[in-house]
């Protein structure tokens, strides 16, 4: 039986709630996403738990649907980033030589341009669809995963058991997926949490700038954009996504921290 510390348990629960909310959005949202159900910026009431938004849509329903979009895109982008980054990173570490050099210098180059600036440059010519967003965010972020995967794998490739597998005559695929990947997995999984949070923040920023998810679809950054005019009249609708994003980010961080301490301490985190 694994004993889970309280902070990690809290993180796991809140994260699970967010994902459940995303999956079940059409069933738990009290109103449809785009239906106008009341006046502009009504205060919170029994019918509208969070009040209404800038054109009278139910804010809670938009937050739930928005969470679905945000989490869905961020998850897909994280998966793409991990798939590309770790496969290339492990390949570079195992192959070495010119493959490693070429990939690493390319990654250095992409990372020398700030991610947001590069994303803006690319999005200025590409159509803003969800597919483009996932591709742009995932591929730009895979450079970070590549660096980590390569660094971790380089340490493992010089281990004796990898040498033994090479001498046994195993192919490169076996060495990458059966010898190195299982041992590199735990730091990668902990990093995955942080990359996911980064994706949520990144997508929110793009949507806030009007270059991410397009209306009438909601996402958390878009909800801020739609309701920002209310701020100067003292209407806090635009701040609601802040609470959602912070809660999600902190809970995923707690889980990632726990995974990291479990895997980096010698006793597997059991002694603490």
């Amino acid at each position: 039986m694994i004993r889970i510390p309280l902070s990690a348990l809290l993180g796991l629960t809140v994260t699970a709630l967010f994902f459940a909310g995303a999956a079940l959005a059409p069933w738990i949202a009290p109103y449809p996403m785009t239906q106008i159900v009341g006046d502009v910026w009504e205060p919170a009431s029994a019918e509208h738990l969070l009040g209404t938004d800038s054109i009278g849509r139910d804010l809670l329903s938009r937050m739930i649907y928005g969470g679905r979009t945000t989490i869905w895109i961020a998850t897909l982008a994280t998966m793409l980033s991990f798939l590309t980054g770790s496969v290339l990173g492990l390949t570079a570490a195992v192959a070495g030589g010119w493959v490693d050099q070429a990939l690493s210098r390319l990654v250095d180059l992409v990372m020398s341009i700030p991610t947001l600036i590069f994303a803006l440059v690319v999005l200025s010519v590409l159509p803003t669809t969800m597919t483009t967003l996932v591709l742009v965010m995932g591929l730009l972020d895979s450079t970070r995963v590549y660096r980590l995967a390569r660094a971790v794998a380089v340490d493992i490739t010089v281990m004796d058991f990898v040498e033994a597998a090479r001498l046994r005559g195993e192919g490169r695929g076996w060495i990458v997926f059966r010898e190195i990947l299982p041992n590199a997995l735990s730091p990668l999984v902990a990093e995955m949490g942080l990359r996911f949070i980064f994706m949520v923040l990144f997508l929110s920023t793009l949507s806030f700038l009007g270059l991410g998810v397009q209306p009438p679809n909601a996402d958390w950054g878009g909800i801020v954009k739609e309701n920002k005019e209310g701020i100067v009249y003292g209407i806090s609708a635009a701040l609601t996504p802040a609470i959602a994003i912070a809660a999600l980010a902190i809970s995923v961080n707690l889980v990632a921290d726990w995974i990291l301490t479990r895997t980096t301490s010698l006793k597997g985190g059991r002694g603490e």
Binding site: L109, S112, P114, V121, L209, L211
Partner: protein
Amino acid sequence: MLHPIVKLLVQRIALGLLLLFAASALIFAGTQLLPGDVAQSILGQSATPEALANLRAELGLNDPPVQRYFNWLFSALHGDLGTALSNGEDIAQSLGKRLGNTLFLAACAAAVSVPLALILGIVSVRYRNRWPDRLISAVSLASISIPEFLIAYVLIFYVAVQLRWFPSVAMISDAMTLGQKLSAIALPVAVLTLVVLAHMMRMTRAAILNVMQSAYIETAELKGLAPIRIIARHALPNAIAPIVNVIMLNLAYLVVGVVVIEVVFVYPGMGQYLVDHVAKRDVPVVQACGLIFAAVYIGLNTVADVVSILANPRLRHPK
């Protein structure tokens, strides 16, 4: 015979220039990704063939991409960034003043955040694992869990709208005195400070803690020196290289964070200009802004490396 450190520095700076050249190619390539035609996407589906042909000729789209890239790069190096498609203005002219405004904002944020990060870092080492340390790390965890534009709106909501201390938009003009300008940008500076503070502070703390484990620190403790004196006089000087490095990296980050903050506060800087023109699909402006942002970013990163080479006494005084 060159001093080895000069050789290292020359190599690092040459690498920075090479990187900038490659980055400019990448930015140019990024705007050529569109399957189809820039002219078509500017004019829309209903454009007449004559209008399309005119625009293509005007934009030089009939030349091969490599030639267009070198034309663009050479004019950019001569200070000619082309004209904006959306309003026909000269880009270099519109950019000049905005770049100044952006650097002014970023410099003010740096002037506040760097000393603050150092002081808080030292405080949290002095009281490590006690409440000041825990409070500082809790606040910094919270500030990296919220996107910067939301921190900005939270501050606008409470500080500008409810308390009415500072204006909620940061409009500045040449007619304003320095004091008026500083008051106008107080909120954006506060947000930017919060955004970069957490990382700089944590790294300062980690760098000093790393040194604090050395034997000579124990000697200082056994001599009976005051804890704050040990940290400031004995530990800090040896932690200066990683700290300076982190500060430079965060300044580079600041230049990017400015983009979003400018949009929130309607500040007349480069970030706002860039975002406006991305939405208008004004490719020449986006390329020019991207190039300048990349140049500043690569420049600061190069400076970070140069400083850490200079801060290493073993490199400065080779055997």
